[in-house]
């Protein structure tokens, strides 16, 4: 009497649903989708502005200063007679450029610092953690002003400041995520399977933190949009040749009492874009950052 | 039957999202009895326990009846459930690592039930905590009540859970696989403790497990569950020696294959 081959005993059928990774459900929720829609609109406007704007954004028309909304200038003109709608559209480009490049730099900084702060030998790890905390205490706006005073104000400075300043915030969050992943059983199993640290990072640890990273990036891009507007407003960001919502605010604020509407548009653009990225981040977090 | 004391569950059905998870389950635990619910994962044994305490999600569709001392608990107002839950009926969960609040001292967690149900004062609570800690066999009880859960071992944490369940002087203890997360030595000690409490306090227990070797130390009679139905009921010794249902036989055979057979390798 031989024992039945229990190894082949049962093949319980698996549910016939499409096989998918956990935690990637497309359940953004109403607010998440609102955020996604806002971001998409801004993106489309920026893309269209590359091909077409009602007027060349920087073309000043001395005969049409402070034109009223409606007519040939849908949102009116500013003090130098530039078309506000065209400026707004071109400003979206600048905002997104800083959001994307600043976000990418922040993500890179965050992943690098976070990984070094979590996965290296004890001394290096601790030193990095201290470094992260010190950098965190340094305000991003101040960092930008410092960079601008040395290098002169430019979008590059804004992107650099956003990348470093917000990158450190991401690093602190990812450090914890990397620590958790490093202590997991599946990483131990990977080590037992002969995988080296670099391949474990690529195959297990980066995918493990990717959900949190995406959420952080979305929030960082919201902050980047606000930072670009703020720094350009203060004169540390976009030069006069670049259309920027922050610059528009600065240019128009002296006329706030006379032409209140002109300040409304760039202000609204900044707010809605920032809100869009924030809501998208919230939605992504709720959708599956954590189970 | 309406005057009967103890727990009487009859014809209990539970459906969640249109799926019938429990299908007409009958279980009764009279005063002083030790009853087991045994079955594999997904058989509905833990679900039954949760239903008794009204701890199921609100969209669960329940049918049948759950009576405690003749009072219907199914659909009872929260006021009635709150008196019974953690008061007259205590519960011990599987994993002591997650069942305790990591940020509160052990003593406060032990006496929570007593303070809620019997209005015990602050000074009285501490004395009670120490007494309960001693009763469940925590080492140096006067010191243990001032510690946090992470400072205790798994077995000690499970003793804390049991002490907490006892603090409101319940008459029935629901135990949801309370020894599964423990090693065999500690498992054996916890089973010993529960048996002793049953004797000294006249406590009845409803004990959920998948392991017949555990069941025979924790209960005198048991119901065997499979896919939400009771497929067999009887004294535990009979389930071990001559199980009738295929489910009980499979559980018995599995337990035979993995439990101690007298030290012959």
């Amino acid at each position: 009497m031989s024992a039945p081959r229990l190894g082949r005993a049962r093949h319980p059928p698996l549910p016939r649903t499409a096989s998918r990774r956990p935690g990637r459900a497309a359940r953004l929720g109403v607010l998440g989708w609102t955020g996604a829609a806002l971001v998409t609109v801004v993106l489309l406007v920026a893309l269209v502005s590359l091909l077409w704007t009602p007027y060349p954004p920087q073309a000043a028309d001395p005969y049409a200063r402070w034109a009223a909304p409606g007519g040939s200038h849908l949102l009116g003109t500013d003090a130098s007679g530039r078309d506000v709608l065209s400026l707004l559209m071109a400003g979206a480009r600048t905002a997104l450029l800083v959001a994307v490049l600043g976000g990418a730099l922040a993500g890179l900084t965050g992943v690098l610092l976070g990984a070094v702060g979590a996965l290296t030998p004890h001394r290096v790890r601790t030193a990095t953690a201290v470094l992260i905390d010190v950098l965190l205490a340094f305000p991003t706006v101040l960092l930008a002003m410092l960079l601008a005073s040395v290098l002169g104000g430019s979008l590059g400075v804004v992107i650099g400041a956003v990348g470093l300043g917000f990158g450190v915030t991401i690093a602190r969050v990812l450090r914890g995520e990397f620590r958790t992943a490093a202590a997991s059983d599946y990483v131990l199993a990977a080590r037992a399977a002969g995988m080296g640290p670099v391949r474990i990072l690529r195959d297990h640890q980066l995918p493990a933190v990717s959900g949190v990273l995406i959420v952080q990036l979305s929030w960082t891009m919201a902050l980047a949009v606000l930072a670009e507007a703020g720094l350009s407003y203060l004169g540390y960001g976009a030069g006069p040749e670049v259309a920027s919502w922050g610059r528009m605010l600065a240019d128009m604020q002296s006329y706030l009492a006379v032409y209140p509407l002109t300040v409304l548009w760039p202000g609204l653009a900044v707010t809605l874009t920032g809100l869009g990225f924030t809501l998208l981040g919230d939605g992504l977090r709720d959708a599956g950052g954590r189970r | 039957m309406s005057g009967a004391t103890g727990l009487v569950v009859s014809g209990l059905t539970i459906g969640i999202n249109g799926e019938r998870l429990l299908d007409g389950v009958d279980v009764a635990v009279a005063e002083g009895q030790r009853v087991g619910l045994v079955g594999g994962s997904g058989s509905g044994k833990s679900l039954t326990l949760r239903a008794v305490l009204g701890l199921l999600p609100s969209h669960a569709a329940l049918g049948g009846s759950i009576r405690w001392d003749g009072v219907e608990l199914l659909g009872a107002p929260e006021r009635v459930l709150a008196r019974v839950r953690g008061g007259e009926i205590g519960i011990v969960l599987q994993d002591p690592a997650t069942a305790l609040d990591p940020l509160r001292r052990v003593g406060a967690q032990i006496t929570e039930g007593a303070r809620r149900h019997h209005r015990v004062g602050r000074a009285g609570a501490r004395a009670l905590a120490v007494r309960l800690a001693e009763e469940v066999g925590l080492p140096s009880p006067a010191d243990a009540v001032d510690r946090y859960p992470h400072e205790l071992s798994g077995g000690q944490r499970q003793r804390v859970q049991i002490a907490a369940a006892l603090s409101a002087e319940p008459r029935l203890l629901l135990a949801d696989e309370p020894t599964t997360a423990l090693d065999t030595v500690v498992q054996s000690q916890v089973l010993e403790l529960l048996a002793r409490l049953g004797r000294t306090r006249g406590l009845s227990t409803l004990f959920v497990t998948h392991d017949l070797a555990v069941l025979r130390r924790a209960a005198d009679s048991a119901s065997v569950l499979d896919a939400g139905r009771v497929v067999e009921h009887g004294p535990v010794e009979r389930l071990l020696t001559s199980p009738v249902s295929a489910t009980a036989r499979a559980l018995r055979d599995a337990a035979r294959l993995t439990s101690w057979d007298g030290g012959r390798p």
């Binding site: 199993a189 391949r199 195959d203 | 423990l182 065999t184 500690v186």
Partner: protein, 250 residues
């Protein structure tokens, strides 16, 4: 005379906590494992059994002492790791939730840079362990606990190791599943001539698969003998406690 597989000399492990606090996971001990002799490391939780096994696998660095393989390699040499396969306690955490099962099972083939069709090797191993045909294309959360442990065993064996190290491979499973996986392990050990190094607190399991038993208590090796001797007439208090506590039916 059986061949030495691994020799540990004066091996110890101390963990350094915050504020200079030290916790001894393992007091110095010497032990030799022999090829073909299935050995169990037993003890309660916190006795140091998992620490010992990690040191023996070269996955942790000892505070003192050395471990060398039978042919004189240090245990940290990847050639030793290549000869071992590892199964951990809880398949819910030992399988990366974001990786497809086929890729999980083939991981040792990638890790040890073994040539050949990794995907085909993983699929045939999954088939041998009784998993459905399309298992390789799915994610771990789509499987039951028992099936997941089969996946973990498939990963441990796909590179055809000589030594199977199993750290509490059954304690996270239901009794019925436990019995099936235990039978499967015994089959595999016999079929492939594996040396099984089992970590367990459950002597009911140990008596069925191990020929030799090492008893750990509070980080100390308190008993080392044949399973026959340790289980039927334990000498140490720790071994006696384990024998008394072993789950029994009668």
């Amino acid at each position: 005379m059986t061949e030495e597989l691994l020799t540990a000399t004066e091996l110890s492990r101390v963990h350094h906590g915050r504020g200079g606090r030290q916790r001894v996971a393992l007091h110095p001990l010497s032990v030799a494992l022999r090829r073909g002799e299935s050995t169990a490391v037993v003890g309660g939780s916190g006795s140091g059994k998992s620490s010992l096994v990690r040191l023996l696998l070269g996955l942790d660095t000892p505070s003192t002492g050395t471990v060398t393989t039978g042919d004189g390699l240090p245990v940290t040499d990847r050639r030793w790791l290549r000869r071992t396969g590892v199964v951990l306690q809880d398949p819910a955490t030992s399988l990366d939730p974001r990786m497809r099962v086929g890729r999980i099972v083939a991981e040792p083939l990638r890790g040890f840079r073994i040539r050949g069709d990794h995907d085909a090797a993983a699929r045939s191993m999954l088939d041998r362990l009784g998993l459905p045909g399309d298992a390789a294309d799915r994610y771990p959360h789509e499987f039951s606990g028992g099936q997941r442990q089969r996946i973990a065993i498939a990963r441990a064996l796909v590179h055809e190791p000589e030594v199977l190290v199993a750290d509490e491979p059954l304690s996270a499973l239901d009794v019925t599943v436990r019995a099936r996986i235990l039978t499967l392990l015994r089959e595999l050990v016999a079929e492939r001539g594996l040396t099984l190094l089992l970590v367990s607190h459950d002597l009911g399991i140990v008596q069925r698969v191990s020929e030799r038993v090492l008893v750990l208590d509070d980080g100390r090796l308190v008993e080392d003998g044949t399973a026959q001797q340790v289980l039927s007439s334990p000498r140490s208090a720790a071994a006696r406690r384990l024998v008394d506590a072993a789950p029994r039916l009668g």
